[in-house]
């Protein structure tokens, strides 16, 4: 949280005993809090030893079925014997940052964050710089030069649908009467990153551009007028149950639904390839700094990247791993076929889209 909210929080703290808060927080007395790379402080073995000594890692907002995080957490925990404490699994990126601020100094503060780019850009003052061993494998435009944040995985905005009931070959298909009460988003676009990108996909497929989300909103307005739009937030339960048989969501999230619904298919429109990546960061006030850094090393190793790939997401080191042969070809082949060059929202485009939605979304679909 910036400025004013932080000030309000500080005011609250000032009403209580502030002095004790200036002391170090939680249980970490290790010297890893300011370390910017493993090599500079004794190498990986020293990191592993220090992390095991800490014994715990606080993560936040990681649903188990999101890009295979369930398997990642289990594997990391088993490999290093570190207990992973999960918090707020359905939280948003902003909730993660709010938790960093409100839990500052306690042993429950988040150690690592997995957040959307908009929130990452706005909160770099909370992150500790760190460069993983595989730093050079991450493309330059997908990491912060100072090591504050680094993208981890991403995908393309897609339309998932139950192929036993529908066939989707283009975005325009969704306006036909066959899709009555069928199309849903995965959240409120005025609030959630994935849903905002869903509307942007509709915009790109209907003559809009990355800086203009207007046609996307009109598309959903038409969808709503035709009775095809379902305002329910699509979850695994509503997809299984059939209430939201067509969903705009990231391709890796859509592909997770295939497990429970074998007829689920994922479609990425060829004329509208909208990419989006999330980013990792280590918090400055992490109570377990060594474990946090070990987690990042794990995620950016071939094991971690391939686990994300297994979850249907495109790991950030994909190009480099393809070149040196460490990419798991089976998982790579299972990704939805995409031909063409993707576009991604940058900071100004994202906030422009957000403001447009804030003023126009309710009117368009709130009949």
């Amino acid at each position: 949280m910036k400025g004013s909210a932080a000030r309000a929080t500080c005011l609250g703290l000032a009403l209580t005993v502030v002095g004790t808060l200036a002391a170090c927080g939680g249980s970490s007395d290790s010297s890893w809090s300011n370390v910017t790379s493993a090599a500079s402080n004794g190498g990986m073995s020293a990191l592993v030893t220090a992390a095991k000594a800490e014994g715990q890692l606080n993560v936040i907002a990681l649903p188990l079925n999101w890009a295979n995080y369930g398997a990642i957490i289990k594997d990391f925990s088993a490999k290093y014997g570190i207990k992973v404490n999960q918090a707020n699994p359905q939280g948003s990126s902003q909730d993660e940052v709010n938790a960093v601020n409100s839990e500052k100094g306690t042993s429950k503060a988040p150690d690592v964050l997995d957040i959307g780019m908009a929130v990452a850009w706005a909160n770099t003052s909370l992150f500790a710089p760190y460069e993983v061993s595989e730093w050079s494998s991450i493309p330059a435009n997908q990491k912060d030069a100072g090591g504050l944040w680094y993208q981890d995985y991403g995908g393309y905005m897609s339309i998932g649908y139950d192929s036993s009931k529908y066939t989707v070959t283009s975005v325009a298909d969704l306006l036909t009467p066959a899709f009555k009460s069928a199309v849903a988003l995965n959240g409120d676009p005025t609030e959630a990153n994935a849903a905002l990108n869903g509307v942007m996909l509709a915009s790109l497929a209907n003559g809009g551009s990355i800086s203009n989300i207007g046609p996307g909103v009109s598309f959903f307005k038409q969808l709503n007028a035709a009775g095809n739009f379902v305002p329910v937030t699509a979850t695994a339960a509503t997809i299984d149950n059939g209430t939201t048989p067509v969903v705009f969501d990231w391709d890796y999230l859509n592909s997770a639904s295939v497990v429970n619904l074998p007829s689920w298919k994922v479609f990425v429109p060829s004329n509208a390839i909208l990419g989006g990546y999330y980013a990792q960061a280590i918090t400055k006030t992490a109570p377990h700094p060594a474990a946090a850094r070990l987690w990042e090393e794990y995620l950016y190793s071939a094991t971690g990247q391939n686990l994300w790939l297994q979850g249907g997401a495109r790991p950030v080191e994909m190009t480099a791993m393809q070149a040196n042969g460490s990419l798991n070809q089976t998982y790579a082949a299972a990704l939805p076929a995409v031909s063409g060059s993707p576009v991604t929202l940058d900071q100004s485009q994202a906030s422009a889209a957000a403001s447009y939605l804030a003023s126009n979304w309710s009117a368009a679909v709130g009949s």
Binding site: Q94, P189, N241
Partner: protein, 300 residues
């Protein structure tokens, strides 16, 4: 006589003209005041301070935002939603409470219903929304069953996914809540009231309209107020059901606090919350006025 005796006793028991007694009476409430002062008043003040804060110091800009049309309509929607679900919940809940209270006070049915209502009064959120979706949603089992018998449940659009549907879903926890908080009042109904009414020639209608009704009205209104506030601040169910952009105030607050796509608006959230507190305070004042009129002749 009695009046003189009472005042004599009072005189004897208040040697210092009553002043010392009054302050020790206030002391009796001190633990409660201290506790709520720290754990309720303080957080509320922090929120209120946030409502008036801005990036450059104290400001009224957050409150000014409350006058925007989409915020006003969110408040109106919230008011209507809460008032309707509270009223339906209060009426249906008191009927169910009456059915239970007239049964055996130690019977198993009463215990089952009370425990059941206790659980359901706190059931909400994504799971409750899904429970209704699975029952009367587009693929709900009732809808499918009726379809198999040729009856269309939704001839004119799916009303479940709208504020109307949300109101129905809210009654699912409002009715049980009413049962729990109103039943003690119904337990206080004396058989003598009924007997007295009948002795004077009144029937069931007279009994309820002129005797039991007014006696129960204060508790009923108080329970209604609780139901209203409960519905007013509920948000998780609405968030799961309606992603159409902040149609009620709690959704606007959640957007301001947790939005991944906008600038951090924690102060606007605080302003919205302040608005909610003000509205409930106004309704509580109206309720207090109503209470005073309806309880005028009760021995208090």
């Amino acid at each position: 006589m009695t009046a003189v005796a009472v005042s004599e006793t009072e005189y004897v028991r208040r040697p210092l003209g009553g002043r010392l007694r009054i302050s020790s009476a206030w002391l009796g409430a001190a633990p409660f005041l201290l506790y709520t002062g720290l754990f309720l008043f303080l957080p509320t003040v922090l929120v209120a301070v946030g409502a008036f804060s801005g990036p450059h110091g104290p400001t009224l800009a957050n409150l000014a935002q409350l006058s925007r049309p989409y915020v006003v309509s969110a408040f109106l929607n919230s008011l209507v939603l809460s008032a309707v679900s509270a009223s339906v919940g209060a009426v249906v809940g008191s009927v169910l409470a009456y059915a239970v209270a007239t049964g055996s006070p130690d019977g198993i049915l009463r215990r089952l219903v009370t425990a059941f209502c206790g659980v359901l009064s706190q059931f909400g959120g994504v799971t409750l929304a899904f429970a209704f979706i699975a029952t009367i949603g587009t693929e709900g089992f009732i809808v499918i069953w009726l379809q198999q018998h040729g009856i269309r449940f939704y001839p004119n659009g799916v009303w479940l996914f709208s504020l109307t549907g949300l109101t129905l879903i809210y009654t699912y926890f409002e009715i049980p809540l009413m049962v729990i908080v109103f039943m003690p009042a119904l337990d206080g109904i004396r058989p003598q009231w009924r007997e007295a009414t009948e002795t004077l020639g009144g029937g069931t209608w007279h009994y309820w309209r002129h005797v039991a009704g007014p006696l129960l009205m204060p508790a009923f209104l108080g329970a209604w107020l609780l139901l209203f506030a409960n519905a007013f601040s509920a948000y998780a169910t609405a968030a799961a059901l309606l992603d159409i952009g902040g149609v009620i105030v709690p959704l606007q607050i959640s957007r301001a606090l947790s939005s991944e796509v906008g600038l951090d608006q924690a102060n606007f959230a605080a302003a919205l919350a302040l608005g909610m507190v003000v509205i409930v305070a106004i309704i509580t004042l109206l309720y207090a006025r109503l209470q005073r009129r309806s309880a005028r002749w009760l021995p208090r």
